[in-house]
């Protein structure tokens, strides 16, 4: 028997000619796919390049082959152990210490001090890899000779200083020798507090800033020849400095890589939303297209084509559209990738070397094609139901009505329903692949599907309510308004789906904005008069009495200075398990190895006991733990811990769990011990006071003059810094969420384009009956803007609900932002109207006869 199937080539040719017949409509379909692919390729491509940069430059990013970071000054014993390792390995290994801390500095004669990030290096050794770029050009050795320092440009700008001027630090004057443009291991310092200042180790020593217990971190850098095995050396260093975080060049920057991976996963999922919306748009367009092609399908069936042949034509068509969208998306995505460093601003301390991201392009193309094909399968399968009798008569008998008919219709679509389930599962799998987490993938698929279903139901309800009202008052409305509103229910309009898709985009972008606004407002509210707005760090025990007296004399103090002691300790076991045994459980090792402790024989102000009871005797072997830390470390009342303080290990039992209000000074420390356990240890004091903001500058100057080593953190400055970080992060998220809005608009445009013929006919009938262009413009504008307003309403309602839920999880208050809500509503209406007209403006110029003759 001859093979009757339509060849792939023939099917492709028919599909291609069909595509060419409606370039406008399919143009929007291609754009719908491109939007998601562009976002995904952009984000993942940027991440891929950034990771590559981290890998290539890991040695220079560390400024050495190996680094060991500790949060206390190396003891003589530590120094001895390191020296013996170096000796044992023979020559060839070089090492140097880098000290990082924060301090106050000023540029005389201006006495206003500024909080700076201070880094002390030995310029004869540092850096082993990479270079410190200075302006004017010179070597670090030349620049840090004698009493001179190099500073970041930001320092000069903020203090209105210049190279060659004096910088005052810890009671001593230094000459600013150059501007520090770039330092290789900038990343390891993280987002520093204040402008960067680099000084030589010898000079730092002369300032006396490094008192015992100060908050400086110490980093041992090593450079070793190739024949030395980094694994063995690393082990030896870890044994010699058990409290240090040791890293070698093979890891690059694990903290940053992890952060980058997390950010990429979250942003990829946001992009996936845009991509899925795009795929829904394509599916809707294909559904509308097939409805319009009923005659062609019936003719093909009448001349012997089977459902498989028709499926082949439209599958090839969908594949072609997906590919075209993918290619366009990749091109746009590479543009997004190049733009991302600009929108991330100075959040990223190194610039990724941008390369063509092959892996991300493959991921974007693959995901785009897969989602498009999957989402299009249910509408494409409808071709099986087309009956050839349509060539003879348009109306085919209807199925049974009522509940039985409803079930029969669903039963007839069981294959589509089954495929929809597969689509949801595949969506989960794609989300899993993008986020690298099965749990995230599952939740994404479930929540996204649930959100879409709820939005669809909401949209359908909104349309039903509008129609209900319209039916009651329609004849009292002006004609253009009535006509415009009635158009929302035009056959093939798919208004509910457009509303849901556009609403989802609005919801995403507004929710991100509302979250940002709420978090920033919460930050500002913490500056209430009863709470500290100025914090002191690096106060030594000798200075406590003098500082207290200083604040009593100081004008503008609204809330008196509160001082809290801080001691560093190291947990050696929790609930009987050593830190090594706990390593697998993702416990924050640094928090345990350099635990900040304080003492108090009653719950400190702002802390509320939630479990257990606070001790009354200051000598008991107990401790209290903050709720967050207790949850993370699985500690509760009665848990046993071993804590090494000042070289001595103590066995303690958790007596109480407390919740800190996050606003008092005590919130800084999560481990509180009885006074008897800590009083004799080297102590660093923290202070907090509320000072009239106008007097903060004068207080800072006076305190700097009297106590140059004490660092003041002005919360107003801090708020600015946090605000700018939050703003930049939310900008990136909003930028990407914007792709979802765009995808929603593409769906709208595609839906409008697919009903173009109906619109054209309406427009010319109206013209025939005497309507002017303006009247047609008004009628269609009502339709588009009401669609936008409804989508905006659905979006803002859900954005507010989502924000409220998320904020309550974070313990932050929620207020409705009316202005933003109204702007989102009006903005969506304007965008929808503009998109509507872009997709259909040509119909205005049509002559009636051109269209009526086509009938």
């Amino acid at each position: 028997m001859a093979n009757r199937a339509l060849s792939w080539k023939r099917a492709g040719a028919i599909g291609w000619r069909d595509l060419k017949s409606a370039p406008g409509k399919f143009g929007f379909v291609v754009l719908s796919v491109a939007v998601g692919v562009a976002a995904l390729v952009g984000v993942r491509g940027f991440s891929e390049s950034f990771r590559k940069t981290l890998g290539i430059e890991s040695k220079s990013l560390m400024a050495g082959d190996l680094s060991a970071r500790m949060f206390h000054e190396p003891t003589t014993e530590d120094q001895g152990k390191i020296a013996s390792i170096l000796q044992k390995k023979g020559g060839g290994i070089r090492s140097t210490w880098v000290t990082e801390t924060v301090s106050m500095a000023s540029a005389p004669p201006d006495p206003v001090p500024l909080l700076v990030s201070l880094k002390a290096v030995d310029p004869a050794e540092y850096p082993y890899y990479g270079t410190a770029e200075l302006e004017p050009a010179m070597t670090l050795k030349q620049a840090l000779d004698g009493d001179s320092v190099v500073v970041a440009e930001e320092f000069l700008i903020r203090l209105n200083a210049q190279v060659g001027q004096t910088l005052r630090l810890g009671g001593r004057n230094f000459k600013i020798a150059a501007v520090l443009k770039q330092e290789p291991d900038r990343l390891t310092a993280g987002a520093g507090m204040g402008p960067r200042v680099m000084i030589s180790q010898a000079a730092l020593e002369r300032t006396g800033l490094l008192a015992p217990g100060s908050r400086a971190s110490q980093r041992l850098l090593m450079k070793f020849p190739e024949q030395i095995d980094p694994v063995v050396l690393r082990k030896e260093v870890e044994q010699a400095l058990p409290e240090a975080q040791v890293m070698d060049f093979r890891e690059g920057n694990p903290a940053l890589s992890q952060g980058l991976d997390n950010a990429t996963a979250v942003l990829s999922l946001i992009c996936l939303v845009a991509m899925v919306l795009g795929a829904i748009g394509v599916a809707m367009a294909m559904h509308a297209h097939l409805e319009q092609r009923m005659d062609m399908l019936a003719i093909l069936k009448a001349v012997g084509a089977g459902s498989a042949d028709l499926l082949r034509i439209f599958l090839l068509q969908t594949l072609g559209l997906g590919l075209a969208g993918g290619v366009l998306g990749v091109a746009a995505g590479v543009g997004v990738m190049a733009a991302l460093p600009a929108v991330f601003g100075n959040l990223l301390p190194v610039h990724a070397v941008l390369e063509f991201p092959w892996k991300s392009v493959a991921a974007g193309m693959g995901t785009g094609l897969l989602t498009t094909l999957l989402f299009c399968l249910p509408p494409l399968l409808d071709v099986r139901a087309v009956r050839p009798v349509l060539v003879l008569r348009r109306l085919v008998e209807q199925g049974p009505q009522g509940v039985g008919g409803w079930f029969a219709r669903w039963w007839a679509r069981r294959l589509q329903l089954g495929i929809s389930a597969v689509v949801v599962a595949a969506l989960g799998a794609i989300a899993w692949a993008l986020s690298d987490s099965a749990k995230v993938g599952t939740w994404f698929a479930v929540l996204f599907t649930a959100a879409l279903v709820v939005l669809l139901v909401m949209a359908a309800v909104a349309l039903w309510v509008l129609r209900f009202l319209l039916n009651r008052i329609r004849l009292r409305l002006p004609s253009f308004l009535r006509h415009g509103l009635a158009n929302l229910y035009r056959p093939g309009n798919q208004s509910a789906a457009v509303l849901a898709a556009l609403g989802l985009g609005v919801m995403l972008i507004l929710a991100v904005y509302l979250m940002q606004a709420a978090l920033l407002r919460d930050l500002r509210e913490t500056a209430s008069p009863k709470l500290p707005n100025v914090f002191l760090i690096d106060v030594t025990t000798d200075e406590v009495a003098g500082v207290k007296e200083f604040f009593q004399r100081q004008p503008g103090v609204i809330q008196a200075l509160d001082l809290m002691p801080g001691v560093t300790g190291r947990f050696t076991s929790l609930n009987g398990k050593t830190l090594d045994q706990l390593k697998e459980q993702h416990f924050p090792r640094r928090m345990l190895e350099n635990a900040e402790l304080t003492w108090a024989d009653a719950p400190p102000a702002g802390d509320k006991v939630t479990q257990g009871k606070w001790w009354t005797n200051g000598d008991v072997a107990q401790l209290a733990v903050g709720t967050g830390v207790a949850e993370r470390l699985h500690l509760g009342v009665g848990s046993s811990v071993e804590l090494e303080i000042g070289g001595k290990v103590r066995a303690l039992t958790v007596a109480a769990v407390f919740r800190a209000d996050g606003q008092h000074l005590a919130s800084r420390i999560s481990f509180v011990l009885p006074s008897g356990q800590l009083k004799d240890q080297t102590t660093e004091w923290y202070g907090g006071a509320h000072i009239d903001p106008k007097q903060v500058g004068a207080m800072e100057r006076a305190l700097f003059a009297a106590y140059p080593t004490i660092t003041v953190i002005n919360l107003a400055d801090e708020l600015d810094r946090i605000e700018s970080v939050v703003n930049q992060i939310t900008f990136v998220v909003r930028f990407l969420a914007g792709f979802s809005i765009f995808a929603g608009l593409m769906i709208l445009a595609s839906s409008i384009a697919s009903t173009r013929f109906r619109r054209m006919r309406e427009a010319v009938v109206l013209k025939t009956l005497g309507a002017t262009r303006m009247r047609i413009v008004r009628t269609f504008s009502v339709e588009f803007s009401v669609l936008g307003l409804l989508a905006g309403s659905v979006g803002v309602v859900f954005a507010n609900i989502l924000t409220r839920v998320l904020l309550s999880k974070l313990g932050v208050g929620f207020h409705i932002e009316w202005l933003e809500t109204v702007v989102a509503l009006v903005g969506t209406a304007v965008l929808a109207t503009a998109t509507g007209w872009i997709a259909s403006y040509r119909i205005l110029g049509l002559r009636p006869l051109e269209v009526l003759r086509e009938e």
Binding site: L475, S479, A486, L769, E850, L852
Partner: protein
């Protein structure tokens, strides 16, 4: 009165010019029922479109009650169409999102001050659709849709009604009903009726038959019955 003076219509198809109408000259006095007939592609619908101001001639002139509509701007043309011409199409051309009543009301709202609601209802009752006023086109049969289209064509009481194959999509009973309604309008209100048709029976009912072939008028006659009636009216016979 409608006057057509040497109207030509052609379209440029790449380098080739396709001539649809090759110079038509005719006059249609007020109140006349004119049937335009001809084979497919003879230019009937194009001529109707020019007469109604739905399209403009490539050359020549079209005058409607002394107004040169071939020269009018789009908005002016829309106003002329709205007030002077009612249309009936083969495929009804109702707005799918509006009810039957709203469809009939539409020309009144576009062209006339004040409410046309009573008039629209009356017209729908007149075409036998009193019970179907709130129905959407999709809920009506073909014959019912065409009767809605007739009511819509009459609502502003235009002096001219133009119909393009109005019975072409209907069964004979519905076709007859539609034709009767059009003729009744023509006879009772003295409305000029210009009708394009393939159907010789329908053409036979007209006062005048214009036959087109390849874009030219090849015959412009009064049908036998109409001529006889006309002669009887004028007392020629007997």
């Amino acid at each position: 009165m409608i006057e057509v003076r040497d109207a030509k219509k052609w379209i440029q198809n790449g380098a080739r010019r396709v001539e649809i109408l090759k110079g038509i000259t005719l006059t249609i006095p007020a109140g006349q029922f004119v049937a335009i007939v001809g084979a497919s592609g003879s230019g009937k619908s194009t001529l109707l479109g020019l007469l109604a101001g739905l399209d403009t001639p490539s050359s020549g002139e079209i005058w409607l009650d002394g107004v040169p509509i071939h020269n009018l701007a789009e908005a002016e043309l829309a106003a002329v169409r709205g007030r002077k011409i009612g249309f009936v199409f083969q495929s009804y051309q109702l707005i799918q999102t509006l009810t039957a009543l709203e469809n009939v009301l539409l020309p009144h709202e576009l062209n006339v001050e004040g409410s046309g609601l009573a008039q629209a209802r009356q017209l729908l009752e007149g075409v036998g659709l009193a019970e179907r006023m709130e129905h959407y086109p999709v809920q009506l049969s073909g014959g019912e849709q065409q009767r809605v289209a007739l009511a819509r064509a009459f609502v502003v009481e235009p002096p001219i009604v133009m119909a393009d194959e109005p019975t072409g999509n209907l069964d004979s009973a519905n076709g007859r009903m539609v034709l009767d309604l059009l003729l009744e309008r023509n006879r009772k209100s003295g409305t000029t009726l210009v009708l394009v048709t393939h159907d010789p029976e329908v053409a036979g009912m007209a006062d005048r038959k214009i036959v087109l072939k390849d874009g030219m008028v090849v015959e412009d006659t009064l049908p036998f019955t109409a001529a006889t009636e006309l002669m009887l009216d004028r007392g020629v016979h007997g």
